[in-house]
């Protein structure tokens, strides 16, 4: 019997163990990792206090340079950007695979809109969250409020979309509806608040990496250590889900369990990312679609999507910091400006496909 070659993949076998490796995906992932290293190095260099590469290395190894600027200010900000971007990319890849829709993103799971409502409510109600006296509360309180709001939002979307199982299309529709309601609640809350509080809330809503420290890096890192392997374990199930519910069931996938666990993973990733940096727009939407084109596959590849998310977020933050320096834009403004034309492109493409 002759062997069969699968396109885009090569098998590697050791004894009873066999792996399928997609060379283009591996190349895309490695290139992305190299880009992340370059972007992090750049973000450690530039700023009010430009440093040379030698000074950065010295600061990092503790042999000189400027320890405070590099290790306490710039490194945690850069790392938060990388981790949050990776979480959003991965979350988006899972959401799009389950919804079977390139326009789906964790936003439709109610995470970002839910988080926005609770954070805005908190800022507006307390008024002094960012005040000097309650600076510590801002550090802890806002991420906790965002996490709680994100999870509540997801539970609402989930329970409204659940009807003897989870249907991708229904999930998207319910998600869009719930997000619209949350967005209006958020704006209503902002109009009731003090002008200064509202503008502070606005900065958070845009999604920003300004002033992120190690207290932001650590929780995101821990969450990723737990969630990434959980989600990667679902890779094979996700590729079977592409074939429609009935075929997937026929292949032995426990549909509802698989979808529920993977969506929970996507929700937690997005919630953790939002808690650390606010709702950074479009990364979760664009990263998986860019990743699948780079890797040359039909479905968002999980690892490459995460890497792409990290590259996008880091690059956008670098632009946000340097474009109007010394004024720093929120990173979410940059991703939104870049993402909006991309969304329009996706919509036009989707319409063209529907017509042909």
């Amino acid at each position: 019997m002759t062997g069969v070659r699968l396109p885009h993949a090569r098998p590697y076998r050791v004894g009873k163990v066999s792996w399928l490796v997609r060379p283009r995906g591996v190349a895309a992932g490695l290139t992305g990792l190299a880009l992340i290293a370059v972007l992090v190095a750049l973000s450690l260099r530039i700023g009010d206090f430009p440093l040379s590469l030698g000074e950065i290395v010295a600061s990092l190894t503790g042999t000189g340079g400027n320890h405070f600027v590099v290790v306490e200010l710039r490194l945690p900000r850069a790392l938060t950007g990388v981790l949050v971007g990776a979480a959003l990319g991965l979350s988006g890849a899972i959401t799009q695979s389950i919804a079977r829709n390139a326009l789906a993103s964790p936003d439709i799971l109610g995470v970002t809109s839910g988080a926005s409502v609770t954070v805005v409510a908190m800022i507006v109600a307390s008024g002094t969250v960012y005040g000097g006296a309650s600076g510590a509360l801002a550090g802890v309180g806002i991420p906790v409020a965002a996490l709680a709001g994100g999870l509540i939002g997801a539970v609402i979307v989930y329970s409204l979309a659940w009807r003897r199982g989870l249907d991708g299309y229904r999930l998207v529709l319910v998600g869009v509806g719930v997000a619209a309601v949350f967005t209006n609640v958020k704006y209503w809350l902002m109009t009731t608040g003090d002008v200064n509080d509202s503008s502070r809330a606005m900065v958070w809503i845009s999604g920003s990496l300004n002033g992120r420290g190690w207290e932001h890096v650590t929780p995101v890192a821990y969450a990723l250590v737990v969630l990434v392997p959980l989600c990667l374990a679902g890779t094979r199930v996700l590729s079977a889900l592409r074939f429609g519910d009935e075929t997937a069931t026929g292949l032995g996938v426990r549909l509802n369990t698989a979808r529920a666990v993977l969506l929970l993973g996507a929700v937690l990733l997005a919630a953790v990312a939002t808690a650390a940096a606010g709702p950074i727009a479009f990364v979760a939407l664009a990263a998986p679609q860019i990743a699948l084109r780079l890797a040359g596959v039909a479905q968002p590849p999980l690892v490459v999507s995460a890497v792409t998310g990290a590259v996008l977020t880091s690059a956008a933050d670098l632009v946000a910091r340097s474009l109007f320096a010394p004024v720093e834009l929120p990173v979410g403004v940059v991703t939104a400006v870049l993402g909006a034309p991309y969304l329009i492109y996706l919509l036009i493409r989707a319409r063209r496909e529907a017509r042909s």
């Binding site: 019997m1 993949a9 066999s18 026929g250 032995g252």
Partner: protein
Amino acid sequence: MNTRLEAVDIRLGYGDRMIVDGLDLGIESGTITTIIGPNGCGKSTLLRALGRLIKPLGGHVLLDGKRIDRMPSREVARLLGVLPQAPAAPEGLTVADLVARGRHPHQTWYRQWSPGDESAVAEALERTGLLDLADRPLDELSGGQRQRAWISMALAQGTGLLLLDEPTTFLDLAHQIEVLELVDQLHAQAGKTVVMVLHDLNLAARYADRLVAMRDGRVIAAGPPGDVLTEELLAEVFGLNAKIITDPVAGTPLVVPIGTADRG
């Protein structure tokens, strides 16, 4: 002969609508069973329940004597392959990609493409005559070739039981014959047990060992095509006034419609 698949007092429906209310059916090993009946009689619903694609509201389905809903879904997938009606494939997928997907229930994250997977896929492609088309995108195939590719995927799954839901829909007559000849070969040469739903009564009679005629969610008659396809049954099940003659090619019953009859 032993019963491989069995519906026991099965009740099926969607929401409040009851489609099948208490039905028993056994599928013998090594046979081709074809379910026929008018639109909406519940034949596809029954096939989907046999393939555990839908959950019965009452009763249960036995696979090799064990309740199918209590078996791990993966284990079921190694015994029974289902080809849904009008299955969907992602765009750009090649034939080899699709057929390889059939190995899913045999694979794990550390055993993604074993030599066994490779030979099962090669065999499935060869049996369906698709080896030369393996690298072609699915969207470039003709309707008949595409349906053969889906059957090939179910074959690669390596199950003794195949459930096919209207495998000939949307195909012209030549392609319908092509697909049914393939099913016949799989039965004769590979010893597969096949259950399928078909609309064309003459083709059903020609390619089945056993016909199951359904109406309003109940089995009206079951047995060899010669016993089941009678003028009385056609009137009762389809409301069709017809003459039955002998198919000059296959010797099976051939339905020649006269007109619609009053039911009951």
